[in-house]
Every structure is written in C-alpha cells, then in structure tokens.
C-alpha cells in the first residue's frame, strides 16, 4: 500500500511520523541516554562540589573494592531482595487469587488491599514508625498483652532489615496485586469449569491451571519487583535516623549512593556506586530471562 504512493507522499509520511516521535526522543536522549553515558564518564572522575573534575581512571572502582561500607550496603541490598521478592510474589498471587474468587464484598476487600498501593511512602514510613514504636506502638502493645517481650524493631541491628522488609512487602504486595489481578482476569473461565467437571479440587486447579496460565504475568511482576527492590531507599531514609547505629545495618546501595552524591558531594565515587547497581540489575534481569523458559508458559 504505502509503496504505491508517490515519493513526495512517502516523504511527508516519514516526516509526520518522525515529528510525532520527536518530543519523546528528545526527552529520552537527554534524560536517559546522555545521562547514562555521562554517569559512566563521571564515575571515572573525582568530581565533587569544588574545582574541575579530573580524570582518574579506575580509581573509584578500586576504592569500591576496599570500602567496607560499600560491601555492607551491597550485602544488605541483597538481603532486602532475598526476603522481599519471594514474599511479595507469593502473597501477591494468593491475595489476587482469593480476590478473584470472592463473590461477596469484593469491592470492599479490593479497596482495603489497594490502600497501601496508593499511600505515599512518606505516609507509610510515618505510619509504620508509629506502629513499631517501642513504648506506644500497636505491635509491641499486642506483644506485651501476649506476654512476649517488647522488640526494638527499628534499632535492633539484627532486626532492622527485616522490619523494613515487612513495610516494603506490605506496600508492594498491594501494588503488584493489581497487575496479577488483571492477569487472572485474562484466564478464560472455561478452563476452571472443565476442571471442575473432571472433579479437580480447587487446590489442583490452582496449581495446574492458574499458575501456568498466570506465569507470563508472574514473570513480568517478578522482573519489576526485583528491579524496584534493588533500588530500595525510601523506607530506609524515612524510618531510620541517619546517625543511628541501626543505619549501618539498614543502609542499601541506593542509600549509600544518595549519601555520597547528595550529602557529602563525592560525586565521582557515587557514580561508580550507581554503575555497580546498574550492572547487578542488568545481570539479574538477563539471568531471569534465560531461566524463564523453564517456567513461563506462553500460549
């Protein structure tokens, strides 16, 4: 069709198509591509708030290797991912599955489950700080009623990662559930009806029908969750005081990056930290794409 048109027409088409793309292309070139290469460049310099940045080769990366704070924040970040991703996936799937099943009060349940997704992190942070409060927090009050010793949720070094993970899971289950719920709606009901006629238990139909047919959505949600949780920052910043001892144990890679880049203005070094994060996220996403063949069913 298009080939048969005159060349003048074809050129006009090309022009128009290109003009429609232009605004986004400009935005992406500046704020993604240029920024990305700029970031690589900065990571090879000693940029700080004063003076002209000088090229220092791999110095920043060498410094990373011997920086215990970097290694600790890296380890902590992996902990957040290892604890939160499986929990978000399992709980998100279960919640979405049951919400789909509910016939009564379904919009009440949906709204309740939806609440954390639309609550801003700063509010969630304050909310949970109050719940975690040692003296007056709801959780410790319940604990003391049950004769369990009170817990210093946000200052106990061994616990703080898990306390923050709980908040993260609480808010992310809600977000990811929305996408999973949409995925469930795309599974034709005839599969379930056929399974019921064949006498399959609800348990069987969950594992044999729901999970396989939901697997593309599950894969999508896993990818997004992993990428997001690797960049965890908000709740750490909002719930732990920067000078508290617990911060040493709660600090993630992005928090350390933020601290270097925007608090102490050690920008060159901060850029190298963010490059490490980039490479890790890239590798883990590639690994997930390789392994998806084993468990994701596209029909």
């Amino acid at each position: 069709m298009i080939n048969q048109k005159t060349t003048a027409m074809g050129q006009k088409e090309t022009m128009a198509g290109f003009l429609f793309l232009l605004p986004l292309l400009i935005g992406l070139s500046i704020f993604y591509f240029y920024a990305f290469f700029q970031n690589i460049f900065i990571s090879f310099t000693d940029m700080s708030s004063f003076g002209k940045p000088a090229y220092i080769g791999l110095e920043n990366y060498k410094r990373l290797l011997t920086d215990p704070k970097f290694w600790r924040s890296l380890k902590t970040t992996f902990k957040y991912v290892a604890v939160s991703v499986p929990a978000v996936m399992v709980l998100g799937t279960l919640v979405a599955f049951f919400l789909q099943k509910a016939r009564k009060w379904s919009s009440f349940f949906r709204t309740a489950m939806f609440l954390p997704a639309v609550t801003m992190p700063a509010a969630i942070g304050l909310l949970w700080r109050w719940l975690y409060n040692y003296e007056f927090g709801l959780i410790n009050i319940i604990f003391s009623q049950l004769d369990i010793a009170r817990i210093a949720w946000l200052s106990e070094p061994a616990l703080v990662v898990y306390s923050i993970s709980i908040v993260l899971i609480w808010s992310m289950v809600s977000t990811q559930m929305i996408i999973l719920l949409a995925g469930l709606q795309n599974i034709p009901t005839m599969y379930y009806e056929a399974a019921e006629i064949d006498g399959a238990s609800p348990f069987q139909s969950f594992f044999k029908i729901t999970l396989p047919l939901l697997s593309p959505t599950l894969f999508f949600v896993t990818i997004i969750s992993v990428i997001n949780i690797f960049q965890i920052f908000d709740f750490i910043f909002l719930m732990i005081q920067p000078t508290a001892l617990a911060m040493r144990y709660a600090m993630s890679l992005v928090y350390y990056f933020y601290d270097r880049a925007f608090i102490v203005f050690d920008k060159g070094y901060a850029a190298s930290l963010s490059m490490v994060l980039f490479v890790i996220i890239l590798l883990i996403t590639i690994i997930q794409f390789v392994f998806q063949k084993k468990w994701v069913h596209y029909n």
């Binding site: 198509g17 049951f98 949906r110 609550t119 709606q185 960049q231």
Partner: protein
C-alpha cells in the same frame, strides 16, 4: 451430586471470605489504627495500655496541623507536579505510540528497540547526571525540575502502541480521504479510540508521580516548594513528639488519593486486563 457441589462451593466461598478478611485486616488495621490515633489527644496517644477508640474526638489535631504545617500549600505542589507530569507523559507517549504503530519510516524498529533499552536503565542509577543537567538548566529548586525529567518515561509507549495496533487502519484511511491532517487524525480519531489504554497509563503515571520520593528530595530544598511527601519526611530523623499532628498530617495525605482510587479500582483492573499489560 449437584447438591454436594453446591455445599462444597459454599464452603470454599466461606474460606475465601475468611482468608480475605484476615488479609485485608493486615492491610487495613495499620491504617485504621493511625486514623483512630489521629483523633486522640497527645496524652491519650501516650497512654499505656492504650485506648482503642478516642475518649474524646479531637478535631483540632487536624485544624492545627493544617495551620501549622502549611498543609494546603504542600498538597497543591503535589497535585500540580502529579498532574502536569502525567499530562506531559500522556501526550508525548501517545504521539510516539501513534508514530510507531501507524507510520512506516526508516529506522522505526531501531527507535523501538532503543526505547526498550531505556527500560534497562533503572531511573535511580542515572539520578546524579540528570540532577546535574537540571541544575545547569536552572531548574534545581523549581517544580519544573521535579516534573520534566520523570515525565519523559517511555513506559506508556508500549501499552499504547500495543493497543493502537489493534485499531484498524481503515478509519485512518477514511479520514485521510476526507482531507484530515496528521495531527487531527491523531487528536480526533486515535486518542478517543485509545481511552482504555490512556486510562491505564494515566493511573500508573499518577501513582508513580504521587508516590515518587527520592527525585523530589534531591531537586527541592526550599520549604515553599515541598511536596506533601517532603513535608512529611521532615519528621524523620527528629525525635517526633507531636505525634498527634504528625498522624493527622499522615491521614490527610492518604485521603485524597484513596478517595480517587476507591471509586476507580474496578475499571482500573479491567483496563489493565484489556490492554494486556504484560505483553
């Protein structure tokens, strides 16, 4: 047999409701507790053992929090940032999606792949150079600085392009024969036909921008320009003592968006399902 099935179904239904009740309690009780506490006097908040319902409902927590913390100004900043960034995203994403789905031109597939590639660059990884650019452009400490860079996200393009591909070209061809220009085809024919997909992109964009924390934190340090989040975040680090005001502020920040979403959740999930978000 049929009877037994019905009984079984009733049983599962009961179990489903019970599990959901527990689940929503876990989601909802923390929020409820905060709402109740926000109406208590400071003395009652710090009482042990605590009261469940406020002894006396103290509404001045709210009026004073609003007066003392310039709540409306922060709320306005948040709304302004969220709405303008979403509007920009919608326009430039739908324009790009239109070009990628309905136009043939050299380099089209390369551009599409480049856009896919941007998804591999996590936004927080490039925050430093983006901030340096914003500062160089004189947009540090302006609302424009929060709005512009994140508005250039290409995420919506994929949803919109997918949706536009399902719209037949005949209507566009007919409009062309009638002498409609490229832009009016996009604006008057394509956009109205894409309403479900546009709605999904809008909802996600609103959620992202409203909940975005780190970027505004970096760009803004003038109190006047604080978004609601930044205003709330001021209470971190300090040993908070005025929990009655803080909790009232927290509740106030939750209400507007929850009100919007509570009414919309059904359409939202249908919309996502119909646009086939996971590709």
């Amino acid at each position: 047999m049929a009877r037994k099935n019905r009984i079984n179904r009733k049983k599962t239904n009961g179990a489903v409701i019970l599990l959901l009740a527990v689940g929503s309690a876990l989601m909802f009780v923390p929020v409820l507790w905060i709402i109740l506490s926000s109406f208590k006097s400071l003395a009652e908040i710090y009482r042990s053992p605590p009261t469940f319902l406020p002894e006396r409902w103290i509404f001045t927590n709210y009026t004073e929090a609003v007066a003392q913390f310039r709540f409306l100004r922060y709320l306005w900043n948040s709304i302004l940032v969220t709405l303008s960034a979403t509007l920009i995203t919608l326009i430039i994403n739908s324009m790009a999606a239109f070009a990628l789905s309905k136009y043939q031109f050299p380099g089209r597939s390369i551009i599409f792949i480049l856009m896919l590639a941007t998804l591999m660059i996590p936004i927080r990884v490039i925050m430093l150079p983006v901030y340096l650019m914003v500062a160089r452009l004189g947009m540090a400490n302006t609302l424009l600085g929060i709005i512009i860079p994140p508005a250039a996200t290409p995420t919506g393009v994929f949803i919109l392009r997918q949706y536009m591909l399902t719209i037949s070209d005949e209507m566009i061809d007919a409009a062309k024969i009638d002498g409609a220009g490229h832009f009016s085809i996009y604006w008057k024919i394509m956009l109205p036909l894409c309403t479900p997909a546009l709605a999904v992109v809008t909802v996600f964009s609103v959620m992202w921008r409203w909940n975005d924390f780190l970027w505004p934190l970096i760009v803004i340090n003038r109190e006047k320009l604080f978004t609601l989040q930044l205003a709330l975040a001021r209470f971190r680090g300090e040993l908070v003592t005025d929990w009655n005001y803080v909790l009232a502020m927290t509740v106030l920040s939750i209400i507007p968006i929850v009100a919007v979403f509570a009414g919309m959740q059904k359409y939202l999930i249908q919309g996502i399902a119909s646009t086939g978000l996971k590709g």
